[in-house]
């Protein structure tokens, strides 16, 4: 039984990338349009698949497809999605076309209104084919049910992103790119050791995830392998103290790339924690919960506080994301139905919210040519539309009730607060402490908004044009999603919950009661 | 009584090795290497006598051949360098650095 959905889903962008790369010189426009078309096709396919999901067969993973890849290593090309993977794949499928639109002009030399060059002219075809390759890999990494395959995508994803940052980013791009690559590579290699170790210790001669769940019993071994995986993921989903690459990368990357970086790539980290760290090494996960939650809380607070101090828009957004990832990690390791469902939901919403925020900021910067908040002011008088979208995105960032991120953040906190996973009230404390971040979030977002949008109109800002059609087309759907899921998160939760339950079962957290309540939410 | 020969060959080998490490004239260094090879020959022949089989003596033949080949190649190289730099000192060959 193997369905072709996921292979096709990954093949389409790859083919698209090849075609785009092979286009004759000077056909930049064609390249852009083709890329957009391809990404839209992928989006459509994803949605169709998503709607078939509930009815599709397969208990844990649906749309499974397993082919032998390297028999002598026991490696398969195994793909399949559960609820968690599905929503994340959907997230990437949604974001890519938006990013394509958003970075329409990124590659052909971005000029501000007064004609100062922000990023020089670069090869357009390369940029967009890299984008498509990246999309294929993002889908692959979430869909992989073979740990080896997951690792391969996990590492290979770096390369296109590396080139996107390195060749198309801002002034500091090469520094940022190298920092990004080396951090991730290092983590990845540690994970490689753990992967090999898992393979050897399990001695099952296969990398298929389902067959490896619950195989490792010895706690000591579990701890070592867990560490290998977790460090890699912690670097990926920047968790304090290994977060330092993110602000640089996000600030230097072109807005589009930044969206994918923060919106999707980093989710691989939290996704990995949820899928692999927990289910493969439950004992270790429980043993390490406390320290990890502490780290999560630290990064929540730390990210928020540092964000307040930022003068650079993109860096600020990057730090807010660190804070948000703190929430997600906390939710994941609180190990209650609600918290994990919330965390998963948070991954999606954060993707939309931060994406919108980055893009809006990107449009501002594209007009002014400077990422410094101080250079703006009174934008809303000149470009009300832009200001409006920026505001909504920001509010989503501070998870205002009624906006999607509120739901998830609330679920995470509640879930953590009431998590019975550990008798002690430690998690409760953690939840309470993390609540402080809500206030801080209000501070950094609103202060930025106030400095950038309100107040007297700065001289260069007067020249601003408001959003054009393309840019509206970029922001509108995101805002729509934010608001939509803000009021009606159920469809997502319905998909997510069973998967989370399954996870908890594998982790052997015995609290059906909470599970019920979470499902009811 | 083969012990004496072994000690001798050991000494020769050590002298050769030290020479290679200490001496600076390429030709001398090279001669030290040859000395080491001869030490090997001595050891081989001694052991051949000790074990009462001919292998060691045959090996000595081959080692001689190799030594001869090394001489030819080595002298060619060193002479070329010498003609280029008018000096056969290993220290003067210092263009290749980290």
């Amino acid at each position: 039984m193997s369905s072709l959905w996921l292979p096709i889903l990954m093949a389409v962008p790859v083919l698209g990338a090849i075609v785009v790369a092979l286009l004759p010189k000077g056909s930049d426009k064609a390249a852009k349009q083709l890329t957009l078309a391809v990404s839209l096709v992928v989006l459509v396919l994803t949605l169709v698949m998503a709607f078939q999901f509930p009815s599709a067969s397969g208990e844990r993973f649906k749309f499974e497809a397993v082919y032998d890849w390297i028999p002598s290593f026991g490696v398969h090309f195994g793909v399949g999605v559960d609820g968690i993977a599905l929503v994340l794949i959907a997230l990437s499928a949604v974001l890519v076309p938006i990013v394509v639109l958003a970075s329409w002009h990124d590659a052909d030399g971005v000029r501000t209104a007064d004609g100062t060059l922000i990023t020089p002219k670069r090869s357009v075809k390369t940029y967009f084919s890299l984008l498509l390759v990246l999309e294929a890999m993002m889908i692959g990494v979430f869909a992989a049910t073979d740990i080896f395959l997951f690792y391969v995508f996990f590492e290979a994803m770096l390369i296109p992103m590396y080139f996107m940052i390195g060749s198309y980013g801002g002034a500091q791009r090469s520094y940022a790119a190298v920092k990004f690559l080396l951090y991730s590579l290092f983590g990845g290699l540690l994970m490689l050791v753990a992967v090999i170790g898992l393979y050897v210790v399990a001695g099952k001669g296969t990398f298929m995830f389902p067959e490896l769940v619950g195989v490792i019993q010895d706690p000591a071994t579990q701890k070592w392998l867990f560490a290998g995986f977790f460090i890699a993921f912690a670097i990926k989903a920047p968790l304090w103290p290994v977060h330092t690459w993110l602000p640089d990368a996000a600030a230097q990357a072109p807005a589009g790339a930044a969206v994918l970086l923060v919106g999707v790539l980093d989710k691989v980290g939290t996704f990995g924690m949820l899928r692999f760290c927990l289910e493969l090494f439950p004992e270790a996960a429980k043993a390490f919960t406390m320290p990890i939650v502490v780290l999560a809380v630290i990064s929540i607070i730390y990210g928020a506080i540092v964000a307040i101090g930022q003068t650079d828009m993109k860096r600020l957004i990057a730090y807010t994301s660190i804070s948000h990832f703190g929430f997600i990690v906390m939710g994941v390791f609180a190990m209650s139905q609600v918290s994990q469902a919330g965390a998963t939901l948070y991954m999606v919403n954060h993707g939309f919210a931060t994406g919108a925020l980055f893009l809006a900021a990107g449009f501002l910067i594209a007009r002014r040519g400077s990422p410094h908040i101080a250079d703006y002011g009174g934008v809303q008088k000149v470009a009300p539309l832009l200001a409006g979208y920026f505001l909504i995105a920001g509010l989503a960032g501070l998870s205002l009730p009624g906006l999607s991120s509120f739901v998830s953040e609330f679920m995470v906190m509640v879930g953590t607060y009431s998590s019975p996973a550990f008798g002690s009230g430690a998690l409760t404390v953690a939840a309470i402490v993390s609540a402080v971040a809500v206030i801080l979030a209000a501070v950094y977002i609103l202060w930025m908004v106030q400095r950038a949008l309100n107040g007297p109109t700065a001289e260069p800002v007067k020249a601003f044009k408001d959003l054009n059609v393309r840019e509206v087309a970029v922001l509108a759907p995101l805002v729509a999603l934010i608001i939509g899921f803000g009021f009606f998160p159920k469809p997502l939760l319905d998909v997510i919950n069973p998967a989370v339950t399954q996870t908890l079962v594998n982790v052997k957290v015995d609290n059906p009661a909470i599970a019920e309540k979470g499902a009811g939410q | 009584m083969t012990a004496h020969y072994l000690v001798l060959s050991g000494l020769l080998f050590a002298i050769g090795a030290l020479g290679v490490l200490i001496r600076r004239n390429a030709i001398v260094v090279f001669m030290c290497v040859e000395l080491m090879l001869n030490a090997c020959n001595l050891a081989f022949v001694t052991f051949a006598r000790q074990h009462g089989n001919l292998e060691g003596q045959i090996i000595a033949f081959f080692v001689m051949v190799v030594a001869a080949a090394e001489v030819v190649v080595g002298l060619a190289i060193i002479v070329t360098i010498f003609r280029t730099r008018r000096s056969a000192s290993v220290d003067d060959a210092n263009l290749l650095k980290y």
Binding site: - | F61, M64, V65, V71, V72, L75, V79
Partner: protein
């Protein structure tokens, strides 16, 4: 080992004689100092002092030396071959050990062919010419 004792004895005799004659030479002869005598003899022209460690000489000699080494080694291989090629018979004529036989012939042919190839190369590269 005592095969070499006689050689040792002879060596002692010869060495004694040689060293003796070198040693007494200064005392038997007269001493008439003369600066010209102490110079290197170069048919009367001003002698060119050789640098310490010997003067430089034509590379040709080195080439010859190399060739000598190579061919001498070849000889080293020919001798044992020649000796063990013959079947070893005792005085009565019964065979103690059959020689290496035709195999040895083949191998030596190959060996000599190889050497001849190198030889031809050297020859063509004027390695054997003096002019």
């Amino acid at each position: 080992m005592d095969l070499y004792v006689p050689i040792l004895v002879l060596a002692v005799l010869a060495g004694g004689f040689a060293i003796f004659s070198v040693a007494i030479a200064p005392f038997t002869g007269p001493k008439r100092w003369n600066r010209a005598k102490l110079d290197a003899y170069e048919c009367g022209i001003e002698p060119t002092p050789q640098p310490v460690g010997g003067g430089r000489f034509p590379l040709k000699y080195m080439v010859t030396a190399m060739l000598f080494i190579v061919f001498d080694i070849e000889i080293i291989f020919l001798y044992p071959w020649a000796v063990s090629f013959a079947p070893l018979k005792n005085d009565v004529g019964s065979v103690l050990s059959s020689g290496l036989g035709v195999f040895a012939l083949v191998e030596m042919l190959l060996f000599i062919v190889t050497v001849l190839v190198a030889y031809a190369y050297v020859w063509r590269r004027k390695g054997l010419d003096w002019d």
